[in-house]
Symmetry: C2
């Protein structure tokens, strides 16, 4: 019996993220980019949570094109900072600031803090056959006192996953994908699609 093919639009303008997800998905789950759909809108990420932002992006595409689609949002959450920067991770130090600035602000805010527990979290929102599904990936860790490593992006140089002595930025991409928040969420998403299509 032929297995059915599922086509999904991925609501991301980031070609690296699309390529990363394409590489993990089985062949019969096909990703269509916003470019291929000729969608060039700048979708506003106005939610207060990762869940809301992922849903905002997926609903935007679904409403305009009536297609099955998904979107993701990710953030770093630090327990003693009441889970900030969270949904503001990419703009923690301000809208026009770099990852460099974001990390500096984070280290400053944790200067006298003993509780350096943190987690990276991804939420992936899927709209399939007019229903909404959320998939979450979490990796627990802590914030180091200074930067280490050159791989990855964002807060990777100061995030040490539990059970490791190295930061995310010291891992190679395959090692990171295997344990990362985004990797976990995407694998849950794939498992769901496999069971859904029988």
């Amino acid at each position: 019996m032929e297995e059915p093919i599922i086509s999904l639009v991925m609501a991301s303008a980031n070609p690296k993220k699309i390529e990363e997800v394409r590489q993990i998905l089985p062949e019969r789950i096909q990703i269509i980019s916003l470019e291929e759909m000729e969608i060039y809108d700048d979708i506003p990420e106005t939610g207060n949570t990762l869940e809301e932002n992922a849903l905002i992006k997926a609903r935007f595409i679904h409403q305009s094109k009536k297609c099955n689609c998904f979107a993701e949002d990710s953030g770093l959450e630090v327990y003693s900072l009441r889970m900030e920067p969270g949904v503001y991770s990419a703009r923690y130090a301000g809208l026009q600031k770099s990852s460099e600035d974001n990390i500096n602000l984070l280290l400053k805010n944790l200067e006298n803090e003993e509780n350096r527990n943190a987690r990276f979290r991804t939420v992936l929102a899927l709209i399939l056959d007019e229903k909404e599904y959320l998939f979450e990936g979490i990796i627990q860790g802590s914030i180091s006192k200074s930067r280490s490593g050159l791989n990855g992006f964002g807060y990777d140089p100061v995030f040490v996953p539990d059970g490791s002595v190295e930061t995310f930025a010291q891992l190679n991409p395959e090692q990171k994908n295997e344990i990362s928040h985004r990797g976990i969420a995407v694998r849950k998403f794939i498992d769901f699609l496999k069971l859904y299509t029988g």
Copy 2:
């Protein structure tokens, strides 16, 4: 150093659910019931997803009492029925119908279906220090062709968790709690509170 005590209102009118959660929580996380808060409203569960219903209940309490609180919603999701009954699990056969009727309808709808994959899912919504958090518990399984067992409630007599030959209704409460969707969600919630309070 004394560990701080967290008090949370649990937005549930079901004393059995409150007792179940109280038994799992460490002593310093204290549950206050709606009765103790003198809240007797019937909170409408009008959401299209478990996430929405859990949030509706938690937000209702938070808005009226300005307190930290949490709520949960659970459902059975069957893959070949496009994840129904889901949020309608308790009223699948109709508002005034029993679990007996719900199970009969489910077995009828799956009569000629080979793909009997299903999952139980719980979503717990927490509002803490003005922020919202979701905790999910999922257990994969399948729907049996007939009922077995007398424990539990709802769809337990026809839900066989993966890796088992018995239904949920054939397990004792401790065995079920250890692997169940609700048990998983509550343990994630506890782990979060422990890290949050340092």
